[in-house]
Symmetry: C2
Subunit: 375 residues, 2 copies
């Protein structure tokens, strides 16, 4: 009898678990939101992940339930656990990925370095925070935001008036200092239920318009101290929050050489796509191993440098596949990954990985290959 | 609209095309012989590949038909082509993989180095060949043999009496000299319908009991001449036989430093499994690209050495999966591939790949990891 991983959510993260699972010999079953999604090949059910009966029926045929996203409600997660179903990451960990205020409070308890922050319930509180932090601040809705959604830089409380007026009683917005960062980094950790954890090298992530555009692995110009500090932060968070599976910790590197925790993701993450072709064990294989509580793989790079460039939007006039001949002919050594999604402005529809000895050449290769899929 | 590859046959070679196809963004559809086979995840139909209607119905929904094996009858292949369906490799090429006498005759026309051979119809002819070649020879049934089946070393014609008496009128057995080889090698070539071809490095294959046990890539102790000669032979055969997709040429290296062609396979091949983790582009990705007539990928090794060790038989007492915890814990850097097949004595149920800088260490790693899956 094969081991079977059940993934809730049919997006590209679920899709990218299929290949390493098939190779190792692990079955993948997906509960997709609708037909024709990225992970369609492994979709065994289509339904609403907020509906307990739907998720329970799906979960009964698998050895462990894991996720393509962090949106499954706590009550559904806890009902699965109550039924004796293995759920990784579990609800106790996922609550911190689902609610950014809870995350900030818990990271503070753990002594993790983070931007100054507060929960605010009204314009007065928000304005006080803005005034106390140089006249600007970042306001976030604690739930539901990603890729720049639910995040706004404001100079006055009036600029968040719509969010404030929509707050439920007792509701709070998260407000954070606008960090003077020199660049953004990401630290990935994988952790098994039985406790083993492995750190990936810290990487540099380049954002454009609030969306990850490019990742360089490992992060260049770090010296020896920064990678060790980043790995310590990642490991402390994985253990402190009880994360199982892949954890991504997005970090700001400040001009005064501190690392501050920006966001968390408890699943494979865009900052780790380089590992598919650049690490001995990809983040997708690691996630599958970890949620099954199998021993973790070696996370070291296969080559000195890896660069991942996202394909955002894609060609407006035709399909990604129509660009394969030119792209593959020009770049026989890059690895093109596409997600089976229709191109749409700003949408992540694929990525390109390049690896090699010289960072400049690798970055050129990845960017040039990805360019074939733009307009 | 995605590109779609249709694979006839649901074995592990079809299974191993799934991962790279999903990653690139190519759909895979499989016509499996029965339910629950290795490539089950992509199985869109179950049926008899010898039945034209079954294969035609399957082929209408795909962009190209390719194969997990070489057993689809010529009349079925030619009917597909007559219907305008792209078939790679096509019937004109596959006839040489399906009939070893035709292969020998065609390779002779191409001037390829091969063992001395003849077609024999009776005991007298066979005995004459044996007597003329040192009193021993290899007898092969021209059709249907693989992995040591349909191959027999004889010292007298009487030892092939059963095969001789089963011959149809005009039927022939293939008889070949027993080559005094020092080792066996394999040369893989991939070729697109539009003509581009790429050679993999020649590898050493270690056979036990007529079955491939281990592959070392590239073949050690070759100097510079042998790899070039092997690649020339492979390219000449791919072009001379009009092969599209992956071609494997099994070679004898003789004690007098010649290379002689042993067998051909027109599909991904056990001698190329190392490329999944050891080459920039695996043989499975190459095959998918080639049959779609997409530009071919870089076939160079990622690391100086790769060693593949087959998992033959597997544990008699329990499942392959039950060995994952011990094997993965002891060998975090090896890549374990299993095929979703029930263990059975001598059956290929998976393989292990290791890569690295030092051949001794890499070979030890692969063998030690594979040992966890034996009894």
């Amino acid at each position: 009898m094969s081991l079977t991983v059940g993934i809730v959510g049919g997006g590209q993260l679920a899709r990218m678990m299929i290949a390493p699972a098939v190779e190792l010999g692990v079955r993948v079953r997906v509960l997709a939101e609708e037909a024709g999604m990225s992970a369609e090949l492994a979709a065994s059910a289509v339904g609403d992940y907020r509906d307990l009966d739907t998720v329970l029926a799906f979960a009964r045929d698998v050895d462990v339930v894991t996720f393509d996203h962090e949106h499954v409600p706590q009550e559904v997660l806890r009902a699965l656990v109550a039924e004796g179903i293995a759920v990784h990451p579990g609800p106790d960990a996922l609550q911190f990925a689902q609610d950014k205020l809870r995350m900030r409070a818990r990271l503070a308890e753990l002594g993790m370095p983070q931007p100054e922050w507060a929960g605010v319930s009204d314009a007065t509180g928000l304005q006080e925070f803005v005034d106390a932090h140089g006249g600007r601040a970042v306001v976030k809705t604690p739930r539901g935001g990603y890729d720049g959604k639910g995040v706004r830089v404001v100079e006055s409380a009036a600029e968040a008036e719509d969010w404030l007026s929509a707050l439920e009683p007792e509701g709070l917005l998260l407000v954070e200092e606008l960090v003077d960062f020199t660049r953004e980094l990401a630290q990935q950790i994988v952790r098994r239920p039985s406790g083993q954890s492995v750190a990936y090298p810290v990487v540099e992530t380049v954002q454009r318009g609030g969306v990850c555009a490019e990742v360089i692995a490992p992060a260049p110009h770090t010296g020896t101290r920064l990678p060790a500090v980043a790995a310590q932060i990642g490991t402390a968070i994985a253990e402190g929050l009880g994360v199982t599976g892949m954890l991504a910790v997005e970090l700001f590197e400040t001009s005064d050489e501190r690392l501050l925790v920006n966001e968390l993701a408890m699943r494979p993450h865009n900052s780790g796509h380089w590992s598919q072709d650049g690490a001995v064990t990809s983040q997708f294989e690691q996630h599958v191993r970890a949620v099954l509580d199998l021993p973790l793989g070696d996370a070291t790079p296969r080559q000195p440098w890896s660069v991942m460039v996202n394909i955002l939007g894609g060609p407006a006039s035709d399909t990604l596949e129509s660009r394969f001949p030119a792209a593959l002919a020009a770049h026989p050594a890059v690895k093109v990954h596409t997600y089976g999604k229709a191109p749409r402005p700003g949408r992540k529809v694929g990525h390109v990985n390049a690896v090699g000895d010289e960072l400049d050449a690798v970055a050129y290769e990845a960017r040039a290959a990805a360019d074939f899929f733009a307009d």
